[in-house]
């Protein structure tokens, strides 16, 4: 691994007018990517999936995040819990595929059984054949390893290291900014409202492209007609999140005049506003008066990222058959926008192999959101 150069990190953390971007190694060096798993993903609140994928008590999904096998499960009280996907006995991985536990989580190796809250329930034959107890097997101390987790906007966040600030502090600025959406029941649009891309770039390039509007007239010319560059504004919250907003969001009607219902109780600000924000490190959200979407970035390796995009609506009625064609058209429209971004994020990845590239030069006006993200990443390495 190229030795981390403190002067390069300091250059990233300089004011945007003078700053350089992150060095190439942050996008191309596999060893730096391994270090990033610890300093960026494990020590902060990272997205690992969505509550809608485990809707009922007992529903469970295995997730591998930053190389760590995790198990997400909805417990009997309806709370999402996250555990390390490993039995306390012999370290066997507990589940390989999504499943629904009827009662307990049973290890497939020696059948140690855990409650959905992680407590160890049964240890068959542990004291000899037909003897399920032993003085040295303290079940109270052998529950599953639980990972700190929080569900917000249906996004499952985890803090693997366990020592990040409380989620409500970590994301507090954004929760306050979007307080009108916070706590509302949301409804996923179903299979047609899920999009997936696997892109040949480092995960950070997907964040950087998402949070700035500078590229819109060039990469998304179709937006020029109703969402011009001058209608957008930058959103920068140092050490927390960044993004962009528009002041001319106008939900499109279909030929019969149908449109999606609005979230209840929104102020007039949201009549025409929409905002697109990257909550560092790996989740991107877009809120509109009639829908929101979430993008979960899963870093597969230093140069490959999978994007899971989920679209949610304001009421169950929007998710029925009667609105199916509208949802499909809606998802197709977003898919077109996201697909237009692929060549730039993959092109920037290829550009990061040019040895002379020095992190680049930010526009002090247009790239403040991007610089905010670089500043945050560099800060993780200074403190990590």
């Amino acid at each position: 691994m190229k030795r981390l150069n403190q002067s390069e990190l300091s250059a990233v953390m300089a004011p945007v007018e003078k700053a350089r971007g992150l060095p190439n190694a942050f996008y191309t060096d596999p060893e730096l990517f391994e270090l990033e798993k610890k300093t960026v993903f494990e020590k902060n609140w990272s997205c690992i999936g969505f509550g809608k994928d485990i809707p009922k008590p007992g529903d469970a999904r295995p997730v591998t995040f930053a190389g760590i096998p995790l198990l997400t499960v909805r417990d009997r009280q309806g709370q999402v819990r996250v555990f390390q996907n490993v039995c306390r006995h012999r370290g066997m991985k507990l589940i390989e595929e999504p499943t629904t536990f009827k009662s307990v989580i049973r290890c497939p190796y020696h059948s140690w059984c855990y409650e959905l809250d992680g407590a160890l329930r049964s240890t068959p034959h542990v004291g000899g054949v037909g003897r399920n107890t032993h003085p040295d097997i303290d079940r109270d101390g052998l529950g599953l390893f639980e990972v700190r987790s929080k569900v917000w906007m249906d996004v499952i966040f985890v803090n693997i290291s366990g020592d990040a600030s409380e989620f409500d502090d970590y994301a507090g600025h954004l929760m306050e900014r979007w307080s009108e959406f916070d706590g509302k029941q949301v409804f996923h649009g179903g299979p047609n409202s899920s999009l997936t891309f696997e892109v040949k770039c480092n995960w950070k390039l997907a964040v950087e492209n998402f949070c700035e509007s500078y590229h819109l007239p060039w990469v998304h010319p179709g937006l020029n007609s109703y969402s011009k560059l001058e209608d957008h504004y930058n959103i920068v919250e140092t050490n927390a999140y960044s993004g962009q907003g528009t002041q001319v969001y106008n939900p499109q009607l279909d030929a019969t005049g149908r449109r999606f219902a609005d979230f209840a109780g929104l102020s007039s600000k949201w009549d025409a506003a929409a905002e697109y924000i990257a909550l560092f490190p790996n989740v991107q959200l877009g809120v509109h008066r009639d829908h929101f979407f979430v993008i979960h970035l899963e870093p597969l390796d230093v140069g490959t990222t999978r994007e899971y995009i989920e679209i949610y609506y304001a009421s169950e009625d929007m998710c029925g058959d009667a609105m199916g064609d509208l949802r499909a058209a809606h998802a197709a429209a977003w898919n077109e926008v996201f697909a237009e971004d692929v060549f730039v994020i993959e092109g920037m990845q290829q550009g990061r192999h040019a040895p002379a590239f020095d992190g680049g030069k930010f526009s002090p006006v247009m790239d403040t959101a991007t610089h905010c993200f670089h500043h945050w990443v560099a800060g993780r390495f200074e403190t990590g």
Partner: protein
């Protein structure tokens, strides 16, 4: 009554099909047979198998009964 060979075959079939509720019943039957013969260790092996599969299958009442049986022999908490 079918012999142990038949019960073994049904247990193997239950494992092959993944019918855990059925497996719980079959292991419980094997446990009762052993218990009737005074083979308590052997019975508790079968009751344990039955208990675990009842837990897995969500057979709450059966699991409670089997646990109580094992507790009575000092084999479960």
């Amino acid at each position: 009554m079918s012999g142990n060979g038949d019960l073994n075959m049904r247990i193997l079939a239950g494992h092959a099909s993944g019918d855990f509720a059925g497996l719980s019943d079959l292991y419980a039957e094997a446990g009762l047979n052993a218990e009737a013969n005074g083979e308590i260790d052997r019975a508790c092996f079968f009751f344990t198998q039955a208990y675990v599969f009842a837990l897995d299958a969500g057979s709450t009442a059966a699991a409670a009964d089997l646990r109580a049986k094992l507790v009575s022999y000092g084999r479960e908490l």
